[in-house]
Amino acid sequence: MKCQFCERTCDLTNGRSFCGMYMEENGRVLERFPDQWCTYNPSRIESVPFYHAYPGSRSLIIGTAGCNFRCRYCSNGFIACRDPADLQEVMYTIPADRLVAMAKKMGCHNIVFNVNEPAVSLPSLERVSHYARKEDIPMGCLTNGYTTESATRMMMEIFSFVHIGLKGFSNAFYREFVGIPDMTPILRNIRMFAQTCHVEIASPVIEDVNDHELFDIAQFIHDIRPDIPWHVFRLLPEHDMKESLYPNIDRMDQALETSRKLLPYIYFHNFVGSRWVNTQCPNCGHTVIKRFSLGCSGDRLDEFLAPDNTCPECGTPIPILGTRVAWNEKQSVSWEAIS
């Protein structure tokens, strides 16, 4: 029997599964480790990073284990690239209703799946979304976008905001650095997500490896919708690429110059003190959102200067999902009040 969650479509017969997260039982695909989470932690939504969704809000960051990719530079390889069975002793068992209650207990405004790939844990996430919807807590995720059409539709139901990795723009790159033969499904899924979800796109950049593909990525995003925020990440040498050079920031910035003519919301970060994390009004150039970057998982909102999501100088609408939310806006509620 074949798994239909991602485009690997593993034949699960005899316990085979690339990500190690699904199995076949009685003719059905089942999760091997349902409701098992590797983390639950409040964090700023900008640290995910979502820059154009609920600015300033407090997200409950969750993740599981395993992945359908094997990126040679994976910074979470110690969770994503290991056999999930070996990691079960470090996981937390938290049923969906309790996870949502926990988000409320900690005053989180939304729940964001980060760390690894949500496609490997979709049934658990679907259960969480069931309770989250009841509590009016939106859900978002980071995904590599390599899901089947049916799984993508499932994700579009679960998540209202999605950050999709578009790691290069050639099959050669994806083959050599990610381990999949064809990137076409990712492009298809980005188009699908963009129909109903808030979408941001992230591209890790490795000097002399995929920096020459940056303009193609920008062109692709432009053709879908030019106002999609694009995060270009300076990649740190991690995992199997520890020996690589650190990408040069000035050279990367210059490489983005032509793309900036196509896309008004390009961000360049994943290094501390980046100058390229603010949002400028595409019409008049006024800075409408100021952010601060402490590098990986450390971005935060500094000043939100676009009341009603419009530029205060010229009134141009700034595409933002939801409105600005203050970090401590809602008081945390007690567990008793929820259950």
Binding site: N41, E89, Y246, I249, F271, V272, G295, R300
Partner: protein, 384 residues
């Protein structure tokens, strides 16, 4: 106004330390610190060269600034032992290498050393998953022994009391009273939301699994180091808090280097070491913020993160000192603060040295959870 210079390899930026806003400064001291930074890219927390980076950077800074007081921390062996399963021989080599690196600094600099170890590491024997509490359990990446318990239900208390891996559960006031008896002018956090109702204390070898603990499961954790080794040529010390006044008393006649070696216990120290008190009664400091601050200020700091505070509640929008971890004010009473001579610090324990020691110039790695973002120099003073 303190200046932060961030170096992400071949790229530097300058910021106001307090606001995080970009700031220009061409003070000669800032220029000098920036050049030292660019000559010494940080190799990474677990890289074999990380301790050598501390020595080399410090020597470079000394040759240009000529300080009287140097504060150093060597931490590579702690990170490596905490997260990776080395053989016993390899572990011994790592700790010995850290001590040898400190010796290399002393030999090349000519400074008189006061060397402080934070004590032994032991294998993780097990952990307590407190994610199922009705209330909230908060520990941190770097703490194994302590966990804050907020708003526990009767069911939670029953569960906690049933854990034989837990050494004790201490009500907030009892914890405060213990330290106030030892130090009447103890600084207690003003925001009551941050302090837990109870401090859960693990038995030696045990750790907590809660919100805020690391995704990387530790292999080794600090032992209950109620005493830690100190080498001091200035005579005996019996308590961690005595080191600051001891150093201050001799700075008029000596150039002194206070050197911390994390995760290192007495067996790696010379026989002339002193074993000094590290905490009060059942409370011993783990390597980390509270230890550094107690050492630097000469005052107990049991409430310094990571004792289990609900820090996410504190995390307001307009946060001050964005480069400085959980701190929102420059700590008082630190070793370098108000010292009329010149002082520097260099360390590879995250973005911490500049707040812990209050020296004129500090250089430290800008790494979090072992992700290497580069280095930072902080110039607190450029007028000496």
């Amino acid at each position: 106004m303190s200046l932060a210079v961030i170096d992400a390899r071949e790229w530097q930026n300058r910021f106001d330390l307090e606001t995080g806003q970009p700031r220009k400064s061409d003070a000669p001291v800032a220029e000098m610190a920036a050049r030292v930074l660019s000559r010494h890219p940080y190799p990474g927390d677990v890289d074999e060269q990380a301790n050598q980076w501390v020595t080399d950077t410090a020597l470079d800074l000394i040759s240009h600034y000529d300080p009287d007081l140097v504060c150093l921390s060597y931490v590579q062996q702690f990170f490596s032992d905490r997260h990776f399963n080395h053989s016993e021989t390899e572990r011994e080599r790592l700790f010995a290498a850290a001590m040898a690196e400190a010796d290399r600094f002393v030999e090349l600099s000519g400074f008189t050393p006061v060397i402080v170890g934070t004590g032994n590491m032991i294998p993780l024997a097990g952990d307590m998953d407190l994610s199922g509490l009705d209330g909230l359990a908060v520990s941190s990446n770097w703490s194994a022994r302590y966990c804050g318990i907020h708003h526990p239900s009767p069911r939670d208390m029953e569960f906690l009391n049933s854990l034989d891996t837990l050494e004790r559960i201490v009500p907030r006031q009892e914890w405060i009273d213990l330290f106030q008896a030892a130090q009447p002018d103890l600084e207690i956090l003003q925001d009551p939301r941050l302090m837990p109702d109870f401090l859960a204390v693990a038995r030696e070898g045990q750790a907590f699994k809660t919100m805020g603990t690391t995704l990387r499961k530790p292999v080794h954790i600090p032992a209950n180091n109620f005493q830690v080794p100190v080498v001091s040529p200035f005579g005996p010390v019996t308590d961690l808090r005595e080191i600051k006044p001891l150093i201050r008393a001799h700075l008029s006649t000596h150039k002194i280097a206070l050197i911390l070696v994390e995760g290192v216990g007495e067996s790696f120290f010379p026989e002339s070491r002193y074993m000094v008190q590290n905490g009060v009664d059942w409370f011993c400091y783990e390597p980390g913020d509270a230890f550094y601050l107690t050492l630097s200020t000469g005052r107990h700091q049991p409430f310094a993160y990571p004792a289990g505070f609900r820090s996410f509640d504190k995390d307001a929008d307009a946060i001050k000192f964005p480069f400085s971890g959980y701190m929102d004010a420059v700590p008082g009473h630190t070793l370098g603060l108000n010292f009329p001579g010149k002082s520097i610090a260099v360390g590879n324990r995250s973005m911490f040295m500049h707040m812990a020691f209050g020296v004129d110039i500090s250089i430290e790695c800008f790494a979090r959870n072992l992700f290497n973002q580069g280095c930072m120099a902080v110039v607190h003073r450029d007028d000496k």
